[in-house]
Symmetry: C2
Subunit: 395 residues, 2 copies
């Protein structure tokens, strides 16, 4: 992987404009020298933030030049002012970037229900433009809320002889901020790829990564993942499912899975990353119903926190998932330790179980033995700190 870097033609900045009371960075700017094909995946929550709505509207028909994301106060659930604030942010960015305002995407994360401090954002934007650089790090920091560290990754890939760079940043933390905003992911690449193939690649990658993680099962009103591809690597444009497309989507999926795992590891109060795999299922949908049910079960998650090899809770969560399977065939492994065979608990080695459960990363495998499909999800444990972070009275 080497050094984390932006692809050709991208610059970014991250500044503290005063939204966050503690003086931390809270405004990220990403600029592409040339117009970029863009794709996005957005929250399915029917309540949608104002900045998100701006992005969803303008991503459709426009080539994009800039992305602006503020943290500390989500532009959501504040009425009409939220829509006009979004437009003002895009407009100011457009004037500074010399592009159309419809070429600016917005993201916003933090407490909802409070209007954005627009004067702070406007002067922050001016400052950000004056500080643009080829390092993505400040921008990755500026999108954080309760994240304890920035999540970034970059790869170089080879597309038919041309070197292409893929960069990604994301923030959680816990899919959801305490006052409930936003998982945000931004990918940047200098690959030349058509808008259609870019959307296809992003959707594929997100389904195997960001849509396969759960911290608390809640889905926010501002969740979004976008990708900008400005074509400056000068590879032959990917416009169908050729070898270059396969290489690109593999890299994107790899980057997205790595960022997703970072999100879960840094989930609110998380002490462990838990990988849940269902194998030998009759179909992918069945497998996913079960991984999803186990990944969301508070009882499984507290058991993992307590280092308890409680296969009963795992089997139970599978049982109420709505998936159709034969419980009398199910094997369950924690790490490589078989703890339940054909639906019946085994007298397993408790010491070996504890050794596995003490680790920071735990794998749970559920073998349905009725097919050949599988699904994987990642979740974290449920600790005292989750309650502390989310249960503390807002001040």
């Amino acid at each position: 992987m080497g050094e984390i870097k932006l692809p050709k033609g991208f610059k970014s900045a991250g500044v503290a404009c005063g939204i966050k009371k503690d003086g931390k960075k809270d405004l990220a700017l990403i600029l592409s020298e040339s117009e970029a094909n863009t794709a996005g995946v957005f929250t399915k929550n029917i309540v949608k933030g104002h900045s998100l709505k701006w992005t969803m509207k303008n991503i459709r028909g426009n080539k994009i030049r800039a992305v602006v994301i503020n943290s500390g106060n989500a532009n959501a659930c504040v009425g009409e002012k939220g829509d006009s604030d979004a437009e003002r942010m895009a407009d100011l960015t457009a004037r500074l970037a010399k592009c159309g305002k419809e070429q600016v995407l917005l993201g916003s994360t933090g407490v909802i229900g409070f209007p954005l401090p627009m004067e702070k954002i406007e002067s922050g934007l001016q400052k950000a433009f004056s500080m643009l650089s080829t390092s993505p790090h400040d921008a990755a920091c500026a999108i954080m809320t309760t994240d304890t560290y920035p999540k970034e990754i970059s790869f170089d890939i080879n597309l038919s002889g041309k070197n292409v760079t893929l960069y990604g940043m994301a923030k959680g933390s816990g899919m959801i901020h305490p006052n409930m905003a936003t998982m945000i992911g931004v990918f940047l690449t200098d690959a030349a790829i058509s808008k259609e193939m870019l959307q296809k690649a992003l959707t594929e990658a997100v389904n195997k990564s960001f849509n396969r993680i759960s911290v608390d099962g809640d889905t926010s009103v501002c969740d979004m993942v976008v990708i900008l591809a400005n074509g400056m690597a000068e590879n032959e444009e990917i416009s169908c499912e050729n070898n270059d497309y396969a290489t690109f989507v593999n890299a994107l999926e790899k980057a997205a899975v790595m960022l997703s795992k970072m999100l879960v590891k840094d989930g609110e109060g998380a002490t462990k990353l838990i990988e849940i795999r269902v194998v030998n299922a009759p179909d992918c949908e069945t497998a996913h119903k079960i991984t999803s049910s186990i990944a969301k079960s508070p009882l499984v998650k507290t058991a993992m926190f307590g280092q308890d090899a409680n296969w009963g809770r795992i089997l139970t969560a599978a049982g109420y998932s709505g998936a159709d399977f034969n419980p009398d065939l199910v094997d369950i492994l924690i790490g490589d330790l078989l703890v339940c065979q054909n639906g019946v608990g085994l007298n397993f080695d408790e010491e070996k179980a504890l050794e596995i459960l003490k680790k920071d990363e735990i794998k749970i495998t559920v073998d349905l033995k009725i097919g050949s499909s599988e699904d994987t999800m990642w979740t974290c444990d449920f600790s005292y700190d989750y309650v502390r972070i989310n249960g503390s009275y807002r001040t």
Copy 2:
């Protein structure tokens, strides 16, 4: 309500037979002098305990004489021995009660995956038969797992001039025991009512009570609610939806709601009972999707623990419920304090909010303003103690 008592013709006992290591009562026996019409509602989990399967099989075609419930070790996920143990328990009970083994219902709650200690249960059953009395209290204690107190209720109702008694007991705690067993409810009545009308009444009452509570969203493999009606009150048998049926189903629903609220209040780690009401919904299904999503949201539940009037998490949980509504119309009240109007947060009185949130019982109302249907659910808050109880390593 007055004194809690069994209906005519019922006796019960609760003994400590040694399943629970702390010497607490762990075997409940309920006996009806005469054959009782019986109805039941069972877990939808496709994994089902062995004792539960026995009950589900035999409740269909038989008049019932006895119910035996053990706590401390659920008869679930132990393979064929589980089925033969269930049959042995029913058979021994039948011999002592002088009835057919198919006339005995079983319940079982506690850790799953460990075979029942059958010698203890067999001597416990003999002891229970020697201690039968007209007080239900010992039996209500003997079905407890992590419950901190027994849940019982009884009413007298008048059916066309005849006095009829309805008794109910239930155990949680948290729908689910730490090692994942069982919400159990048992109703007993001396009313004369046909099996069909009894099932109809029970299903109606359960849908408005036990199916409207959530502690952690997990559904166990042994959940069951059964009702026995032995007809000894000598009222005219209820066999259609007449006035007596209405009186009976009202009383049953009232008893079931009261027991359900007790279960939630005594949920694992619970410090508050939270009532969630969705009003003015286009239909009941929409309303229920939303109450259910809010009741299960860890972010809403931790906010209530933290006395945080976080309407944003409530609106967000409504938004991802899958229900179709217009977020720009939604009002949210915490207690009688309007905190969100037309989907936009208000500058509400934080002190008044804190006063409401400090109480043991909190009402949340979500007004969709698009119809006239409604739904109510009860849940509890999510506290450090939930994590402590469910995250402690099993010893």
